[in-house]
């Protein structure tokens, strides 16, 4: 497991995200067409060099939309993203190109993100070729990369369909790392894999971070995986960050009732521990972002909700005295 954030407390961020928002148009012909659906609303965080920020939440919470905006696969409708101090929110695709090599993405479905007609060599070489490297340098680097992610040189001439899911994800990781990026956004990179393979890929990502110093934004719904790999964690609910802070704070002593409920809902793989545990069972389903509740959007499911929660949306504020965690709750746990 990762230890404390290597850059905790240091001011210079690799990535600065401020008040990021994404509003999709509402369904055609509906009254909400004009208002739109706020998939992401006022999301702010920093990512420091060499650290992992985990982004967790349930389906529809906006974590994947956020990840896509960080690498500009989606253009935000509000807020800004700065990479190494440079605002990239409205940079044109041409000026974005040199940045692409420093900012990469890994996807959930390795097969869907690999071109089925290209060999592994072609897939991994593509980003290097785009940088205009010599054929000889590319050959050498591609060989180094497959070794780095635990594949063999004979795999280079094969096609994606000849690999298992875990191996295909290794190819996706090799491609993402080819240009030695400083930041990789990984969107559910292990959730499509068998349990026994997930640990291999998590271990690989951790080793690559130690060896290359790459920072990750690790997006997942699996709270145990995120706890394992992250230095800091942001919990999202209905498009907003409800809690963010050092992993030990968020997991060890969660301040937001949603974080508490989420953690208590994850079954432990041990019957005795599972029976002994105090569980907070939430009522109902996560609401639709098309029709968010008033005030704190969690209030209809919150066991602690009071009148204020129904009317006033809470802001993210510090709840740990040493500044290691913030929560958006009127009545946070202390």
């Amino acid at each position: 497991m990762s230890t404390a954030s290597p850059h905790a407390g240091r001011p210079e961020a690799l990535l600065e995200v401020r008040d990021l928002g994404m509003t999709f148009p509402g369904p055609r012909g509906s009254l909400r067409r004009r208002a739109g659906i706020r998939a992401v609303d006022g999301v702010s965080f920093d990512v420091h060099p060499g650290e992992t920020l985990g982004l967790v939440g349930e389906s529809g919470c906006g974590k994947s939309t956020t990840g896509r905006m960080l690498v500009r696969l989606l253009d935000p409708t509000a807020g800004r993203v700065a990479f190494r101090g440079q605002d990239i929110t409205r940079t044109g695709q041409r000026e974005l190109r040199p940045l692409r090599s420093r900012l990469q993405m890994i996807f959930q479905d390795p097969f869907a993100s690999l071109n089925p007609r290209q060999t592994v060599r072609q897939i991994i070489a593509a980003p290097l070729r785009a940088q205009g490297e010599s054929a000889q340098a590319i050959r050498r680097e591609v060989r180094d990369l497959v070794g780095l992610v635990g594949l063999a040189p004979e795999h280079l001439e094969r096609y994606p369909h000849q690999f298992s899911g875990g191996q295909a994800q290794r190819i996706g990781i090799a491609r993402a790392l080819a240009t030695r990026p400083e930041l990789v956004v990984a969107d559910e990179p292990v959730s499509a894999l068998d349990v026994s393979i997930q640990a291999q890929i998590v271990g690989l990502l951790e080793r690559l971070q130690r060896e290359l110093g790459v920072a990750y934004v690790f997006i997942a719904h699996d709270l145990a995986v995120v706890r394992h790999i992250s230095h800091r964690v942001a919990v999202m609910y209905l498009g907003r960050i409800v809690e963010i802070g050092e992993r030990q704070q968020v997991y060890g002593n969660p301040a937001h009732p949603y974080t508490r409920a989420l953690l208590s809902a994850v079954p432990l793989p041990e019957p005795a521990a599972e029976r002994a545990r105090e569980r907070i069972v939430l009522l109902g389903d996560p609401p639709s972002p098309a029709d968010p509740p008033s005030g704190c959007t969690f209030h209809p499911r919150c066991p602690k909700a009071r009148e204020l929660c129904r009317t006033e949306p809470p802001l993210l504020r510090l709840t740990a005295p040493d500044g290691t965690r913030q929560a958006a709750c009127h009545f946070p746990e202390v």
Partner: protein, 326 residues
């Protein structure tokens, strides 16, 4: 007499690339009021097993014995199996949206299934549908019964499918990954519902999943499958505290846990699950097995190891069981 007794169940498919032995002779028993969890990864044969028990294995050759409440189902006329299915054995699938008909209301689908097996008036069947929808915690069931599946959220649809399964008062429910498509807070609700109904009605429950946490929460007995065979079988408490098979141990070691000590590394199992088209000789797990790597025995590559009793109610299919457990 046990509610469900499966002996030597084997399922073989013909594919373009040759025959596939998806399940190779497994045994298990489910008693009334008990929950058997079947856990395995892709290609382990866990879902094929459940379909074969239900008689839903189209085009596959099924051999062995499946006795439900004393009646043999393998080789029984399709009509008699069909009468049991839905009436006394019900199934809950992963994806409620494909299992429910999009055109009919939730209430009509439940009422129709009830009438098919119990007869009676339309009105009585409608009342029964509203009653079971209420049982599974759907608020305002009389109104929701008139809605279509797409008007239900994922968690509510899964509840509706459980209501459909319960409506005919079955003795056995087979649930195949019933909470895999759900968010974790909703999964907790649906597992509580399944376990609660199972207890209240004294049903037998077979729960098929890849998630050891789900197994730990509601199973009494666990069958671990790998490469079409049983690797280990034990009471749930024992399986998690004293696992014997190297695969079960590896799986538990590779699982990140919310209650793991800080800084504890994950120990991954090397390699991938075997392809059912080209299974390794001998024990299907031996190419990935840490015990084989260290104490390799010709036994591991010769035959598929059979389950042997290693403690009360605890069976392990490993030729190196004595080595593993010292």
């Amino acid at each position: 007499m046990s509610l469900l007794e499966v002996r030597g169940l084997a399922v073989e498919f013909d594919t373009a690339e040759g025959p596939v032995r998806a399940v190779r002779g497994i045994d298990f028993t489910v008693e009334r009021g008990r929950t058997l969890g079947i856990v395995g990864e892709s290609g382990s044969g866990k879902s094929v097993t459940s379909l074969a028990v239900m008689g839903l294995h189209r085009g596959a050759a099924v051999t062995g014995s499946v006795r439900f409440d004393g009646t043999e189902l393998i080789g029984a006329p399709e009509e008699s199996v069909r009468r049991l299915r839905g009436r006394r054995i019900a199934m809950v699938f992963q994806d409620a949206l494909t299992a429910l008909h999009p055109y009919f209301t939730i209430g009509d689908q439940i009422a129709e299934a009830y009438r098919e097996h119990h007869g009676g008036s339309r009105k009585a069947a409608r009342a029964r549908a509203v009653e079971v929808l209420g049982d599974v915690g759907i608020p305002d069931p009389a109104r929701r019964a008139r809605e279509h599946p797409h008007q239900f959220s994922g968690g509510m649809r899964q509840r509706a499918m459980i209501a459909l399964a319960l409506s005919c008062e079955p003795d056995l429910i087979i649930a195949d990954e019933p909470t895999t498509a759900l968010d974790v807070t909703v999964q907790a609700q649906v597992l509580d519902l399944l376990a609660g109904q199972q207890q209240a009605r004294g049903l037998g429950l077979v729960l098929i999943t890849h998630d050891l946490g789900v197994i730990a929460r509601i199973a009494d007995e666990v069958l671990v499958m790998y490469g079409g065979s049983a690797a280990e079988q034990a009471p749930a408490d024992r399986l998690f505290t004293a696992p014997r098979h190297p695969y079960t141990r590896g799986l538990l070691d590779s699982l990140p846990r919310l209650d793991a000590p800080e800084g504890e590394p994950l120990r991954a199992i090397p390699g991938s699950p075997p392809s059912p088209l080209a299974p390794p000789p001998g024990c299907a797990f031996h190419p990935r097995c840490a015990v084989y790597a260290e104490h390799g025995s010709p036994l591991c590559t010769a035959d598929r190891p059979l389950l042997r009793l290693v403690a009360e109610g605890h069976r392990n299919a490993c030729a190196l069981d004595e080595v593993t457990t010292g």
